[in-house]
Chain length 462, copies 2
């Protein structure tokens, strides 16, 4: 413990600067304009893994962006931890809402981060959290405390659906063989109350296109007589929720896992202030499915959100036009037992069925993934819990996250091992938003906590 | 008549080339990026008016874009025709749907325009139709057939609400004194069945902004628990029409002029094929207010159309975000007796009232104008009717247009004179759309017909 603390203290400046170097590369996987930057980031990760002490680090080609693989096998008879993370990031827009350029990292103090936080796209999601594991390996190598084998699998398509990773994992089950998978791509309750994510929501992401007339029309000459695809699209989207904010797609809830009152009561114990929540978001009221609390709505219940909508004239000034087409990107967060491909099919069928004859509708499935729940009585969970308890002085609380890491369910299926989600970020770190940041405290705490997980996991595996 | 035909025949090449020069300048008033082009277009119009034979042509400064004024007074005792037109054009987007660049005019034959049509933004609306009047003056001057006085008032803000023109007209009632106002900014039924527009719809154009959380949020961590401004906006917009496509804004229909069955029957006689209409727009079905025909829906009934909508991530690929804001541009076409400012206020009040507490809503009134109806027993209408009958060999049909020229109602109020709308465009000319064009036949027919209007109007005024 002292050994770890001292190493982190002595090297923290370098740890921070190395992460900043990584954050400077705009590895936006959703936008092909950045493809070279994504590739450069993979090379950088390879370099860091080698420096940290990995053997045979490779850039593994895939149908999409490459996967960086590295390993340090010290003894075939010892347990093996597979670390997963991603080096790609979300698009930075809306750029104009960033207080500093998204790819020019700066350190600023905030109310929740008195020791300062690094502001940059990917600071928390996931470069910062992924890099903690690289530095933790370096620490264990330099202090001769690596107690088991470790494998790294860092991908570049997490923000666009991990299609290539699924392909890669299916083809490399032997290479990726492990006893537990470790991921830091989630959050914790607060810097004084750590938590471990035991559940993730699944995801179905689709894009819809509504076509009215075959060309943009003058809204005076045709207005009132021809279907306006934007008006139609708003009707169709509005009809996807009823007055209780239940989703109206037939069959959508059929397989939803209903939690027992005991489980819900347990969840309810999690410290939470609705007033602080509203204040932090500057909203007068919350909005969600009738019959569930805020923490239930964003974790154990499925959702349907429009992530983007566009059509017609969106420039400066006015244009009196009835556009030919209107579009929307729609994503559904799913809960355990809902199958994302089945839900995507249900959405497609329903959305096409509610289209009036006056328009043509196309639904393009985008990507998705299954939800996931991990038991808290596993060795992995117990090891993680002890590690947090050592470094924070508080026992972590198990929580269900509303987010999705589609690949986790796939890992269990393909590699037959459980995933432990040791997240160190905070909900307020603004991942996927302007001014994303990651606390220096959280970054260094992660580097301290991870080696203890290795230690306890190895001990408990004996 | 022969004199006119011969002059047009001898000069048509030049008439076409001069118009093409005017169309090459991208005078998009809605987008400040083109402001210098708008100003250059005004200078060009001044130059053409001078060449045509106007005295004291001036570029009249306004709070916005200048108004080009010119006059030819031959005898104070003769009637005076005030010609109104506009030199600004609609934005050209979506650019990618143009078959040729919008500001590089080309002449192509089409099914409806066997003699060829000029393809360019503004070809019909309104540079082409406005320029017919300039060439008609040249013709009357060169052939010594100008029978009365003429004044030109050509503005540069028609596509953005004519705010400066209203200001200019109110300040120059004496200067603009006239016996009839002549405008070519509307269409006719077909090249074999001319029509004169006797009614225009009013317009109220607003922009709405819906704000949810104070920043973009991760749709996994917050999805289901926080109001998504896009989902809310779609609900609010969808609620503006009921199942019969009646507009639900309280008081919206209170002052709507209801036509008698006789008037509706008269309208019904206008040649119209619903099949051709659907075929031309490639739609399986029409869509509009229950209880009215297509031609009624787009002329004598008010409408509410979304002209543009945007919010969230609209780029390539996927972004799982709940945006902070969503926006829409919404316009309402109004019919005679509806007051646009009152309707704008009703919309604002209603739209704000239906916003849930979970979002903040701002409604920004953009611009608007009153509807208009002109009697068909006036000297002006009769003169126009005789002129068309001479050049087309067919008596024109009076029709109500669904479009809006807000300034027309204001002319009547400020200048106490009626407006005659001699349109020569076709609905299929794609004004406000990609590939806008104007038939050579229509352009030259207009130049032939206008001098006959002057002749008959002067004779009938005696």
């Amino acid at each position: 413990m002292e050994l770890i603390k001292n190493y982190v203290q002595q090297n923290k400046e370098r740890f921070i600067n190395e992460l900043i170097d990584l954050l400077k590369i705009p590895s936006v996987s959703a936008d092909s304009a950045y493809s070279q930057d994504v590739l450069n980031t993979a090379d950088k990760v390879k370099e860091f893994l080698e420096k940290a002490g990995c053997d045979k680090v490779e850039i593994c080609e895939t149908p999409g962006y490459p996967i960086v693989y590295g390993e340090k096998i010290i003894d075939e008879n010892l347990p093996t931890v597979l670390v997963y993370g991603h080096y790609d990031v979300q698009p930075a827009d809306p750029i104009e809402l960033w207080d500093s350029p998204p790819f020019e990292p700066v350190i600023k103090k905030t109310e929740l981060h008195p020791d300062g936080a690094i502001f940059a796209r990917g600071a928390c999601d996931d470069k910062g959290q992924m890099f903690m594991h690289v530095k933790a390996l370096e620490l264990m190598m330099q202090t001769n405390t690596l107690p088991c084998n470790v494998k790294f699998m860092i991908e570049g398509e997490e923000e666009v659906g991990s299609a290539s990773l699924a392909w890669f994992v299916a083809k490399n089950q032997q290479k990726l063989k492990n006893d537990v998978i470790l991921i830091s791509d989630t959050g914790m309750i607060s810097n004084t109350q750590p938590s471990i994510t035991t559940g993730l929501r699944g995801l179905s992401y689709v894009e819809v296109e509504v076509t009215g007339p075959n060309r943009d029309l003058h809204s005076g000459l045709y207005g009132g007589a021809v279907a306006n695809p934007i008006n139609i699209l708003t009707n169709m989207i509005a009809s996807l929720h009823d007055e209780n904010n239940h989703i109206t797609i037939p069959g959508f809830y059929d397989k939803v896992e209903e939690l027992s009152q005991e489980e819900r009561d347990e969840m309810g114990k999690r410290p939470f202030s609705l007033d602080d929540y509203k204040k932090a978001l500057d909203i007068h009221d919350i909005h969600g499915e009738a019959g569930y609390t805020t923490n239930e709505r964003n974790s154990i219940r499925p959702t349907l959100d429009v992530n983007g909508i566009w059509g017609g004239y969106t420039g400066e000034g006015a244009k009196t036009v009835i556009p030919s087409k209107a579009f929307a990107k729609i994503s559904m967060r799913l809960v355990p037992n809902q199958d994302w491909e089945e839900i995507t099919e249900l959405f497609k069928k329903h959305f096409e069925s509610i289209a009036p004859a006056s328009v043509k509708v196309v639904v393009k499935p985008h990507h998705g993934g299954q939800g996931y729940v991990t038991p808290i009585d596993s060795i992995g969970y117990q090891a993680a819990s002890k590690a947090y308890t050592d470094t924070f002085g508080v026992t972590p609380i198990p929580v269900r996250s509303g987010g999705s890491i589609p690949i986790v369910a796939l890992f269990e299926k393909e590699l037959q091992s459980k995933t432990i989600m040791m997240g160190f970020g905070l909900d307020s770190d603004a991942i996927h938003s302007p001014n994303e940041h990651y606390g220096i405290f959280n970054y260094l705490k992660g580097i301290e906590t991870i080696p203890l997980f290795y230690k306890y996991f190895t001990e408990m595996s004996k």
